[in-house]
């Protein structure tokens, strides 16, 4: 493809090479992290760095900072020597998938609730004054207090053939953390069109719904995408923490505490689920980025909320 004629207003980056460059930067970033880790482990003081009674840098022992290669080798080894044991990486990957599924459910529920609330608040000023403080207040409740209540109430729900499952408690807690940025972001987005535009819709005698569809939703996209990203991160964190909190089996949160208990005798193992959690966060963020590509038509400029 050749560009002849008018010069382009903005030089389009060459897709292929920029992607390669990004990949190189990404790998370089990871290698840098590995180098810093190993260098500190090699040169840092054995007892770590303690300032005013607080340890600001960790000890360099194998217990506190296993070698990177030990962690990698450990990932390839079986979880335990039991005959049925999977390799650690597989166990971690399976657990990460379980958590991802729960977080995704929480994320979706959070989006529905968040956008629903935003619509109500946008429609009625009174609702905004009434609901918004509660939405903000809701985020101040600590999870350790909230989790047992959710599980306790959930265990009583039984409607016909439907019985509340433990993973639903976790998904609910994830959605509880996820709906907040969506509600706030969507509200700001829906309110973002200039008066001149809303008045134009008004002069067309456009209905509330038409105004919503033609004006407010498209205008909200730049606000919504960062909110969705935040919501995805919150849903993942919420799911992991809620798994720890309620003791749900099968997810990455459970593996984190289980393997943390084995960190004295098998220090490298405890890092396995942490890598899983990182991968989980990357996949979640990546999925939202994909959503951004689909909605790119509306992304004139990403708003900073």
């Amino acid at each position: 493809m050749t560009d002849i004629g008018e010069p382009q207003p903005r030089k389009k980056p060459q897709r292929g090479s920029s992607r390669v460059r990004m990949g190189v930067y990404g790998v370089a970033g990871i290698l840098l992290l590995v180098a810093v880790w190993e260098l500190y482990k090699w040169l840092g003081p054995t007892g770590g760095v303690v300032l005013w009674g607080t340890r600001v840098l960790p000890r360099t022992s194998d217990l506190a900072m296993p070698h990177v290669w030990d962690m990698i080798v450990r990932m390839a080894e079986p979880v335990t020597r039991a005959a049925s044991a999977n390799p650690l990486w597989l166990q971690v990957a399976l657990a990460a998938l379980v958590t991802l599924g729960i977080a995704a459910v929480g994320w979706l529920v959070g989006i529905v609730v968040g956008i629903g609330l935003a619509l109500v608040m946008q429609r009625w000023r009174l609702a905004e004054s009434a609901v918004l403080p509660w939405v903000i207040l809701s985020q101040t409740i600590p999870l350790i207090a909230f989790a047992p209540v959710v599980r306790s109430w959930g265990s009583r729900i039984e409607i016909g053939a439907f019985a509340w499952q433990d993973w639903m408690s976790v998904a609910l807690i994830a959605s509880y953390l996820a709906f907040f940025p969506v509600a706030v972001g969507a509200l700001r987005g829906l309110q973002s069109p200039d008066t001149i535009h809303t008045e134009l819709m008004h002069s067309y005698a456009a209905s509330w719904w038409t105004t919503m569809r033609k004006l407010r939703f498209p205008a909200a996209v730049p606000y919504l995408l960062p909110a969705l990203r935040l919501a995805a991160a919150n849903a993942v964190i919420g799911a992991v923490v809620a798994e720890v909190s309620t003791g749900l089996q099968g997810g990455i949160g459970r593996l984190i505490i289980q393997y943390a208990g084995q960190a004295s005798g098998d220090p490298a193992k405890a890092w396995g689920p942490m890598f899983g959690a990182i991968a989980l966060g990357l996949v979640a963020a990546g999925s939202v980025a994909l959503l951004g590509v689909i909605l790119s038509k509306y992304r004139r400029a990403e708003a900073t909320t």
Binding site: A64, P148, S264, D266, A270
Partner: protein, 379 residues
């Protein structure tokens, strides 16, 4: 390892959360007959599935619950689920919890009853380095003492109170899920359960030798040998329902019979019992799991009065310890004697008698612990 979270936050949150009203709550939990006429029962554990609870998982795996006409759901606890709270909220029918923690809950208003004292002995240790000069509770003053907190610390303070020591001189360091803080020198004497954290030490590599640590590297103070010893894993039931619900009373005896059979199975088949808990979701390595089964068995067997029987002297000792204990910030666990409803031997005695009549040995007279070799990382 045990349940480690506060209760007050939960209670405070109940009020706030009520305002958020999820609604749709309905139905009475459990003890309803299923189609196949099995009574469903929910049992709340105090931690993740592991051999500490081997008897319950064995009873389920071996079909002992079904033989008694029960279908039991064993519910693990995470960091924030307090078994006695789940029980008094009506979420579950029975709960496993340590006696001192529940005594605190009872004083705070929980209406629950100890119906079977499965662990007859305290499994708590305080472990220090062999050269630390700490080899009894008397050496604790002025040292950094490790504990998990959340109600697991009261034996330390009861033992110190009995020696006339000032608990405000110790620095309590909250321990993590593993023994790294002790191994790295942040703690002078760390809390350890015989069946879990002590094994974690013995399956860790000594960086000086490149070999596993051995028992000779540590001083071990067992609370069972001190006045501070308190009763631990017990089965708790809802006092109200015990008094008024005939079906629940009947279920309680059946449940206890199945549990006893489960623990007898674990005593006689430690390897099989360990395999069952691994299959039920325990994440420990095979040698650690077997160690845990064996050490748990030692806390239960032999049981001269029958497994689960609540020995009045041991109960009174626990209550006295709980009354005398003052923690490092001056707080107390309980201030008054617990009510008489806090424990009963009625149901366990009935279960023991019925099994005794069937010729089952419920005292573990022939119990012999096995010897377990721990491998690196509990593997």
């Amino acid at each position: 390892m045990t349940q480690r979270r506060g209760r007050l936050t939960t209670i405070a949150a109940l009020g706030i959360a009520a305002a958020l009203a999820l609604s749709a709550c309905s139905g009475t939990p459990s003890t309803e007959d299923d189609g196949d006429e099995l009574t469903s029962v929910k049992l709340q554990l105090q931690w993740l599935p592991q051999a500490q609870f081997a008897g319950y998982f064995a009873a389920q795996d071996q079909g002992f619950f079904e033989e008694e006409g029960l279908t039991v759901e064993i519910i693990p606890s995470g960091g924030d689920i307090v078994p006695q709270d789940a029980l008094s909220n009506g979420d579950v029918d029975y709960a496993i919890a340590w006696v001192p923690k529940v005594l605190g809950s009872i004083e705070a208003g929980a209406n629950v009853t100890d119906i079977a004292q499965i662990f007859q002995r305290s499994g708590t240790l305080q472990v220090s380095w062999a050269d630390s000069g700490i080899d009894s509770v008397a050496d604790f003053e002025g040292r950094k003492i490790g504990s998990w907190g959340f109600g697991n610390e009261w034996e330390i303070f009861a033992a110190m109170a009995a020696e006339g020591l000032d608990s405000s001189t110790v620095e309590i360091i909250t321990q993590d899920f593993n023994m790294n803080a002790f191994l790295q020198g942040d703690i002078d004497a760390a809390q350890a359960m015989t069946y879990n954290e002590y094994a974690q030490l013995l399956e860790a590599i000594n960086p000086d030798t490149g070999e596993l640590y051995t028992a000779a590297d540590f001083n071990v103070i067992s609370y069972e040998d001190t006045v501070g010893a308190m009763l631990q894993d017990a089965i708790w039931a809802d006092t109200e329902r015990l008094n008024s619900d005939a079906a629940y009373q009947e279920t309680t005896v059946k449940f206890l019979k199945a549990v006893i059979k489960g623990w007898i199975f674990a005593a006689e088949n430690p390897q099989a019992a360990a395999d069952i808990t691994v299959a039920a979701g325990s994440g420990w390595g095979p040698s650690h799991e077997l160690w845990m089964t064996n050490e748990t068995n030692k806390l239960i067997w032999p049981a001269p009065q029958g497994i689960g029987f609540i020995d009045k002297a041991a109960w009174d000792k626990t209550v006295a310890g709980a009354l005398s204990a003052v923690n490092e910030s001056g707080a107390r666990l309980i201030t008054t004697q617990p009510p008489a409803s806090a424990y009963t031997n009625d149901y366990i005695q009935k279960a023991l008698d019925e099994l005794g009549a069937e010729g089952v040995d419920v005292t573990g007279a022939n119990f012999r612990p096995i010897s377990v070799t721990l491998l690196e990382g509990g593997n």
